[in-house]
Point group: C2
Chain length 312, copies 2
């Protein structure tokens, strides 16, 4: 197995995490979480979505959040957008990077955007031109790349048809997203290998949900194929709208912890990441999926002898 020396984690909690929460946080709370993420050492942060407020009401204040942030030069703040209006809002607010999202699966794209995958990508042309004219960086995310909750498995050919279009439009950074946690390590390994070999010029990112507990195993498979950029959400929030009660995004602090234990640098302070996760839990007012919050780090040794028992 090959393990990288370093991986970069994009903290997507403020966007993909909070968007699924029943409690809508205040601008102040969101600013606090993002600034704590910066302080913990995350260098890439998805601060929110610039989409129609009716689509994601909990993130309707993304511009306001961004304006109140104390910006750091070495941090990449990015926002999710789905159309030209979103890019215009990014320009107006001063957000330097946007992520366009489209689904590899036709039916999931229809469900998300009410149009076909290719129609969605066609719309990206104007978005990318406008972004380029305004010196805004663009990345893209391909949802349901490892399975669609309506259609099932998604072939490499199908993903490739989307990638080719995105490259034609000048995109050079692409995230493959496991939207509903259907990815398995073999599929991840094979797809990542393929992508790195066929599209070495692309900066690849992987976005996993831990819906079926394969999140960290999928990271391991992706790292083994050479992927070094991953999304994760503080406290493991996010949920899955297609499976009520299911777990959410890959949990940031659990990922940082695994990497730290494996000698893979993330640049993130695990203790600060855990404190951030606790703060998230306080703000949203319910327990979360974070294993660090339940069990603590492997290195948290115990001093007291527990009741004698026979443990294997």
């Amino acid at each position: 197995m090959k393990f990288p020396e370093f991986i970069n984690i994009c903290e997507v909690g403020p966007r993909d995490g909070l968007q699924n929460e029943a409690t809508i946080l205040s601008v102040e709370d969101k600013v606090e979480l993002i600034e704590r993420a910066v302080d913990a050492g995350y260098k890439t942060i998805e601060i929110g979505s610039l989409v129609h407020p009716k689509a994601i009401p909990s993130l309707a204040d993304t511009e306001e959040v961004f304006k109140r942030l104390k910006l750091h030069e070495d941090i990449e703040y990015r926002a999710l957008v789905t159309n030209l209006r979103g890019v215009q809002r990014a320009v107006n607010a001063g957000v330097q990077k946007v992520k366009l999202t489209v689904s590899a699966s036709e039916s999931h794209n229809l469900s998300n955007f009410n149009r076909s995958t290719m129609e969605t990508i066609d719309q990206f042309k104007a978005c990318i031109s406008f972004a380029s004219e305004n010196n805004i960086e663009v990345s893209a995310a391909i949802s349901t790349a490892f399975g669609c909750p309506f259609e099932g498995s998604i072939s490499i050919e199908r993903i490739e048809s989307v990638i080719e279009k995105l490259i034609e439009l000048g995109v050079n950074e692409i995230s493959l997203s496991d939207t509903t946690g259907m990815a398995n390590p073999r599929d991840v390994y094979e797809k990542c290998n393929y992508m790195i070999i066929h599209y070495p010029e692309i900066k690849w990112n992987l976005h996993f949900h831990n819906t079926r507990d394969m999140g960290l195993a999928n990271v391991l498979a992706a790292m083994n194929a050479g992927i070094v950029n991953f999304d994760a959400a503080f406290s493991g929030i996010g949920g899955c709208p297609y499976a009520p009660g299911a777990t959410g995004n890959l949990c940031s602090e659990d990922l940082v912890h695994m990497c730290e234990n494996m000698g893979i640098k993330t640049g993130v302070d695990i203790d600060k990441a855990i404190q951030l996760a606790k703060r998230v839990r306080e703000m949203i007012g319910h327990s979360t999926e974070s294993y660090m919050l339940r069990a603590g780090k492997s290195s948290d040794l115990i001093k007291e002898k527990p009741v004698r028992q026979i443990n294997e």
Copy 2:
């Protein structure tokens, strides 16, 4: 990455799972769970512990459970034992296989057995002779092989000192156990690689807990090193006496599901495994860590369109 064609899962729920439950199940209930596990396709089942009833009161009826089972020739039923008395009880009850357990960590062994690691192994000599005279198969488990909650990391040298002693005594099947969920994939990969290269004559088994969500990632790392035998517990029960509120053993049906998705055969019917996990949950009367029970299989496609939302 290398993936095996087939792995064998030992269902340890009746032993390492139930021993940590507050609710003590009846003999009938335990028999039902074991027979359902057989029906689901598990070929190796740890039916209980033959230890002092005060040490694990919830498993004090292991002989009775075994006597009431409808035995199948192709199933390996095994019981955990810690001393000669346990082996004698196995012989009397007709249990054909026992697992001796010892901890790689001195302080954990003291906590478990009130004596040193080497003193424990010395006691194994009489156990193994008696077992051999009575045609009982013996395997061994080395606890805390990937970390001790009192001492921290455990070196290969330390484990090897235990292995050498076990081999001297004639043991040819050894489980490396991650007792409190401290294993990480790199450590697992390196230790498994080492063991397979240096002790190819040993049948290796890996026993993980999912305390810090690395269970399936650790299986992936172990499989990649060539390991094909794994323990797991139905519904993910088991807990961790050193971290209250922490999750338990690697969850059987989640492991079966991952393997099925990866094209790795387990011989287990995933739907029956999920039904078994539900039955466990009913019997113990509380929710469990099973991801399958929360989210269902990746292949459970949905027909209804959910409320529109933007999901990456």
